[in-house]
């Protein structure tokens, strides 16, 4: 089974976000960049499928030179090959998907696995978008699944319950937290990964479909009534919920 795992580099969850001088992007100085946490589940799932069915696992990212770091992590975890669609441009999601789909077409994988969303733009759209470009079925936010005779049965959380879905491979899925317990790379594997080759793929895309016109830090419009724990103070909060917020 040939598996393509698509991963992305994102600011650390706890990073302090500031808007850069262009008013459209974040100030990158001083920010630690990490492998998108959901993508760890995607890589792990790819490795487990290889252990079960054989085949190869390729990790792919779209980004600049510094994004190679996350490919080194994927190599240390055990993927067979790593590739980067190299670009310093800021792409919209459609252009990123075009690049991923373009590479996927060249290797015709049985499965393409994403993390459920990247924690920078949180749009959760990459898996269905790439699937549509490849004319494949997809299942998003998979929390458990099984493959028998090339047919996938997967479970995912929806509002108010769980859906059970089925499709055949080839297909695209996105991994939810809890799908597996991602392995920690061992030190010798981390060392070995540093010298493994990373394939560089030229970026290729049409014009963007979305324009980001500005980025701002949200201003807090919160009431900010913080009180102590006396009975009278608790009663004052209940009154405010009723009369001011009108939520009860």
């Amino acid at each position: 089974m040939n598996i393509l795992v698509c991963i992305s580099q994102v600011p650390d969850t706890t990073a302090k976000i500031q808007v850069s001088g262009d008013g459209k992007s974040i100030e990158k100085t001083g920010i630690k960049f990490i492998l998108n946490p959901y993508d760890e589940f995607a890589i792990e799932e790819g490795l487990r499928l290889r252990e079960r069915f054989g085949g190869t696992v390729i990790a792919l990212t779209v980004g600049s030179e510094t994004s190679k770091e996350i490919l080194r992590t994927a190599l240390a975890m055990g993927v067979d090959k790593a590739g980067i669609v190299k670009t310093d441009d800021i792409l919209d999601s459609y252009n990123v998907a075009e690049n991923i789909a373009g590479y996927a077409k060249s290797i015709s994988p049985d499965l393409v696995i994403f993390g459920r969303q990247s924690i920078d733009f949180d749009s959760s759209g990459m898996a269905p978008m790439v699937a549509e470009m490849l004319d494949l079925p997809s299942i998003s936010v998979v929390s458990s699944w099984n493959i028998e005779n090339n047919v996938i049965t997967a479970e995912r959380d929806i509002e108010g319950g769980k859906e059970v879905l089925t499709c055949s491979i080839p297909c695209v899925i996105s991994a939810q937290k809890g799908l597996n317990d991602p392995r920690y790379p061992k030190l010798p594997d981390i060392m070995k990964a540093k010298s493994k080759p990373i394939e560089e793929i030229a970026s290729c895309h049409g014009s963007a479909l979305v324009s980001l016109t500005s980025m701002v830090l949200p201003s807090s419009k919160r009431v900010g009534m913080i009180v102590g724990d006396s009975e009278a103070e608790i009663a004052s909060v209940v009154t405010a919920l009723h009369e001011q917020a009108k939520v009860i």
Binding site: G125, G161, K162, V210, V216, P218, G224, A235
Partner: protein, 323 residues
Amino acid sequence: MKHIIVYIEPKDASSLKRTSYEALTAARSIAGDAQITAFAVHGSEQALATAGNYGVQSVVVAKHDLLSTYSSTATAEALAQYAQSVSADTIILSGNASGKEISPRLSVKLKAGILPDCITLENDGGTVKAIRPVYAGKAHIAVQSISDHSIIALRPNVFTAKQEGSANASISSFTPNLEAKHAGVKVTSLVKNEGRLDVAEADIIVSGGRGMKGPEHFPIIEQLASTLNAAVGASRAVVDAGWRPHGEQVGQTGKTVSPSLYVACGISGAVQHLAGMSSSKFILAINKDKDAPIFKVADYGIVGDVFEVLPVLDAKLKAMLHS
């Protein structure tokens, strides 16, 4: 913007999902002179006709054997075909679990710019300008489509559904041209969380964090939730420790919620948790640490021991609700 299609989904035999009413209301708010048509792939006439109560008088329902079992791929294809047949330029839908699967596919099919997870919409000289949170809500961006079409997915529960008129919408049907390959993925069963409210759908949520000290103390949370007719939520720490089921988890790795009132009990307010609940309309936090980050986003805060505060709060709320 000339013609907006709103994708709607039935909740039961007589009504649509609240998120569909939110999408209808949002469409009206930005439509200007544009025509609005609601589009569904299933639902009873009675349920679909309620679109009329939200100001949209025309509903189109796609009919095809391949739509009899829900398939995100077949739904997206039917919707795209309909949009093309009427030259619609804008599609608005909820960014709920199904909307998140359909909207990216529509973007590709129609070569339309996609604006996901929107929290405000504005008609800016005929094009839709949307604001949406990024970086776990630590920043907001303004985005707009620069292609001829736009796909707009709304963060659930952020837009208020407002009734407008009381006329039933007229319903007509559309037969898409579908083949088996369009229904490549199918839902085979749906397991509903019977008997308890889901955090993703609740109007009020009472969540517990590590400050609850153990699963044996969650009945206090459940009691408060019952008083407020609220869903029970939990922080990641609590779910990872096995105290509460994963379905209750609010946060970046759990569910993103926007209730009218979010009550955080013994939750410090890690950024991952804030990412999942900071778009709540009002936030009440109870925590014994006055410096806990949760108080920075709270509208109302009580600094105190949850085990002492919650029973008093519950009693005061009961008295208020019964008066």
